[in-house]
């Protein structure tokens, strides 16, 4: 008797069911599209060692910059006003109009009483000539060395303030010969002057 009663209720419940539609929010299920990454994974497995080697050589290259440098023939000094040229227009955030146009000169003043210098050196020279040149250059705040791994150069001459040849700096001050020394100082109140100095070692 009991069984029939329960069975009746079940059947009634099935017929009483009304489709109320979608209740609440539905979230789409995102499946990862792995086809592209699968191709890459397979090719990566094959080239694992090759990539590692290439990355390591790229790192080692960063310490040594090879560049054919011209040698300076005479000792001479040039003193000029140092400026840099704007590469992009500068807009005002208030009006969105151009405040400074591309190609305009900007003079950046050095702080008063501060003098900074750096030197360009070729790593191809012998030990003796380099030592003589270093003496003649006197003190430089830091050295840019071309054609030699700076780690080896630093060990050889016991000078640690060494950086590899930096194309950005060389282009900025248009240094075209080695050895050369750039001294940045403030001579007058407003303008900055740059002392550009090259020399040739006597044989």
């Amino acid at each position: 008797m009991k069984k029939i009663f329960v069975f009746n209720i079940l059947i009634l419940q099935i017929f009483a069911y009304i489709d109320l539609g979608i209740q609440g929010t539905l979230y789409p299920i995102l499946e990862n599209n792995n086809t592209f990454s699968k191709i890459l994974k397979e090719s990566f497995k094959k080239n694992k060692n090759k990539i590692k080697k290439e990355v390591i050589t790229a790192i080692n290259k960063a310490f040594r910059y090879d560049k054919n440098l011209r040698y300076s023939k005479k000792d001479y000094n040039i003193t000029v006003i140092d400026y840099s040229i704007l590469q992009t227009d500068i807009y005002s955030p208030y009006t969105k109009q151009i405040i400074k146009h591309k190609g305009e000169k900007i003079i950046v003043p050095m702080p008063k009483g501060i003098e900074e210098s750096f030197c360009l050196i070729d790593g191809k020279w012998d030990v003796n000539t380099t030592k003589k040149i270093l003496k003649k250059l006197n003190k430089c705040n830091f050295y840019l060395v071309a054609n030699k791994d700076i780690r080896k150069w630093a060990e050889l001459y016991n000078k640690h303030n060494v950086y590899p040849y930096n194309e950005k700096i060389i282009k900025r001050w248009k240094l075209d010969k080695a050895p050369s020394k750039v001294i940045l100082f403030d001579k007058y109140r407003k303008n900055i002057y740059l002392n550009y100095y090259k020399f040739k070692e006597k044989k």
Binding site: I39, F44, I59, T88, P93, Y94, F142, A154, E155
Partner: protein, 340 residues
């Protein structure tokens, strides 16, 4: 006594079996190269960027008289891998320390104990590199960058990242970024960037222009001078992202990173759809994604989570972070002439 020891042993055995006690040492950090490179990339967002517009375009070629005809298209690819590390000369992406290099820094006064402030930027266009080696030809259909690996930047051996006077001399635009004008610019830039993040693949010319206009502003990172390498104990990754941004600016100034997206800075250059060109920094073109220690989403620069607090529960990289910098490209499908 024996009973107690016996019961304790059983208890430990049960706990071990359930995994409640773990005697194993934590697994060593997973290297970006060789293992985790594909898990770290946000391909799911990247798919959204692949678009083909209906408008046809012609690219002039010397061999063909009238030029090649194709359809305008757009894509994105991982172009640079940038990392911010605490130890000098430690490559987190490779889990490798460079030998005989730490001595260089001793006398330079460059060593620091706190904050991630050494930044390395490696050009590694992963997709084109691996597709080339798997001999899948995608030359004109999907115009990816040339497959080559170059270390573009290492803050340890770049004097301008340590000498303040050099930085100012090299980037005089710094003065615009740390002025009242810079503050307003960064606020506007932050608003534009966050709005663009809602639907990252959708293009909005007005917001794009706003981002490109204030190339010196650091978005939601605040009022920062471009490329300053100050110790930020609270937010060292902000410094890292700032340095990455300044590097992109400098490199595009010297024509190493090229323009590959149509922008307000290259309105007249229709050639941009046929090859990448030298020019100014286009901020909109570069997108940043955190790859390690946790996988982030592709976001506009200046809105990436850049605080230690976000990563404090994940010590797998000892506080170092690796970012993947994605590059967008406008090109003409079937007629693209190439360019980095």
């Amino acid at each position: 006594m024996k009973k107690i020891i016996f019961s304790l042993l059983i208890l430990i055995k049960i706990l071990l079996a359930d995994g409640l006690i773990n005697f194993n040492t934590p697994s060593p950090p997973q290297a970006l190269i060789p293992n985790g490179i594909f898990t770290g990339l946000d391909f799911q967002s990247a798919y959204k960027f692949i678009k083909i517009y209906g408008t046809p375009n012609t690219c002039k070629v010397s061999s063909v008289k009238d030029g090649l005809v194709g359809l305008k298209a757009h894509l994105i690819e991982p172009y640079l891998i940038a990392e911010a590390v605490k130890k000098p000369f430690y490559m987190r992406m490779l889990e490798m320390k460079l030998k005989n290099s730490a001595a260089l820094l001793k006398k330079q006064g460059v060593l620091s104990k706190d904050g991630s402030k050494y930044v390395h930027i490696l050009k590694f266009p992963i997709i084109s590199y691996l597709l080339k080696s798997s001999q899948v030809n995608t030359n004109n259909v999907l115009a990816f960058a040339k497959p080559s690996i170059i270390l573009y930047y290492m803050s340890e051996i770049d004097p301008s990242s340590w000498k303040d006077f050099l930085k100012i001399k090299m980037l005089p635009e710094i003065f615009y970024s740390i002025s009242p004008q810079g503050l307003i610019a960064s606020l506007v830039d932050c608003t534009a960037a966050t709005t663009m993040n809602f639907d990252i693949a959708k293009t909005n010319k007005y917001l794009q222009n706003t981002r490109d206009m204030f190339f010196y502003a650091q978005g939601c990172n605040g009022l920062l001078s471009i490329g300053s390498n100050n110790d930020g104990q609270e937010a060292p990754f902000v410094t890292a992202i700032n340095m990455i941004q300044s590097n992109i600016y400098e490199m595009s100034r010297y024509g190493i990173y090229k323009q590959s997206v149509e922008s307000m800075f290259n309105k007249d250059k229709k050639q941009i759809w046929c090859s990448a060109e030298k020019g100014a920094k286009i901020k909109y073109q570069w997108l940043i994604q955190l790859a390690r220690p946790t996988k982030g989403k592709i976001l506009q620069s200046g809105t990436t989570s850049a605080l230690f607090q976000d990563l404090k529960n994940n010590a797998s990289t000892a506080g170092d972070a690796v970012f993947v910098i994605w590059k967008q490209r406008d090109y003409t499908m079937f007629a693209y002439q190439g360019g980095d």
